[in-house]
Amino acid sequence: MENFTIKETKYTPEVNLDIQTGILSIKGNSYPENTLEFYDPILNVLEKFFDETTLDLIVLNIEILYFNSSSSRVFFEIFDLLEDHSERLNFAINWIYESDNEGILEIGEDFKEDFEKLNFYLAVKE
């Protein structure tokens, strides 16, 4: 398996999966016209990675600013995938927000509540 990278556009985030360090970062806006078309390949890569990896810890750094409702669904799906693999793997999710952006903080709080089994951290951007 190889590292996976997607470059940022105005309405889709930068996505980076480093399979050696086990760090996945998603950063930017997420309001593609066809959300599933954008995220399906990412979900497939993640599934393969979770099945194959022997790392002790996988870290997700998520820093999203503006998004559409279908992206919010996909994030839910990603966290659901993590929960499915959480017996064998350890995950840490950093939901990163700017200190003055209450909106993004609240979205993170909702996800944290929905996925109590996951280590979900709300992290202020430094």
Binding site: K10, Y11, Y31, E33, Y66, N68, S72, F76, N101, G103
Partner: protein, 179 residues
């Protein structure tokens, strides 16, 4: 909101930050966000309000991109044409307004969703949104109405109406007043 009302809004001490009439596209949406984000445009607006404003703008514009129909009957004939307006009224309420043509059939679905939404409390809306998001896994991407809940979560009130064009189409007016 008709053109006349838009003029009244300005005469009444309201502000229009941005308005666009015509074809909508993803790059146009990104451009609208970029221009609104310029400091001078939104200076002094709490970040929570401006964030909500952008999320609602995205949702409404993508509704127009995906579902506007100038010609009825043909399902594939989507015409991404409409009106988007972002402003503040004289009582200092921020709002996002959209107008586009939908089929009569869609208007029934939309009415049902918004009317139900308008009976719910803030917490119930949040709850329902999360239920919809959860149940959406493996479901068809269209039709769950989660986009309207995405808007409702950030709105103090939602107003809408449909103005009949002919037996198959109507003009859909939607205003979300930001919380």
């Amino acid at each position: 909101m008709a053109t006349k009302e838009i003029k009244m809004l300005i005469n009444d001490g309201g502000i229009i930050f941005m308005a666009h009439i015509g074809f909508m596209s993803q790059s146009l949406l990104a451009g609208m966000i970029e221009s609104l984000k310029k400091k001078e445009t939104l200076e002094g607006i709490p970040s929570k309000i401006s964030h909500s404003m952008f999320i609602i703008l995205i949702e409404m514009t993508q509704n127009i991109i995906k579902y506007s129909k100038i010609e009825p009957v043909d399902k594939n004939n989507i015409n991404s044409n409409g009106l988007i307006l972002v402003g503040r009224d004289k009582k200092n309420n921020y709002f996002v307004h959209s107008q586009n043509i939908v089929t009569f059939k869609d208007s029934i679905k939309i009415t049902k969703i918004i009317d139900e939404m308008n009976t719910l409390t803030e917490n119930q809306i949040k709850q329902k949104y999360r239920e919809l998001r959860r149940s959406a896994i493996n479901a068809h991407p269209r039709g769950a109405g989660i986009g309207f809940y995405e808007i409702a979560k950030r709105a103090s009130s939602i107003e809408y109406d449909f103005i009949e064009i002919d037996s198959e189409r109507c003009n859909f007016n939607l205003t979300a007043n930001i919380k």
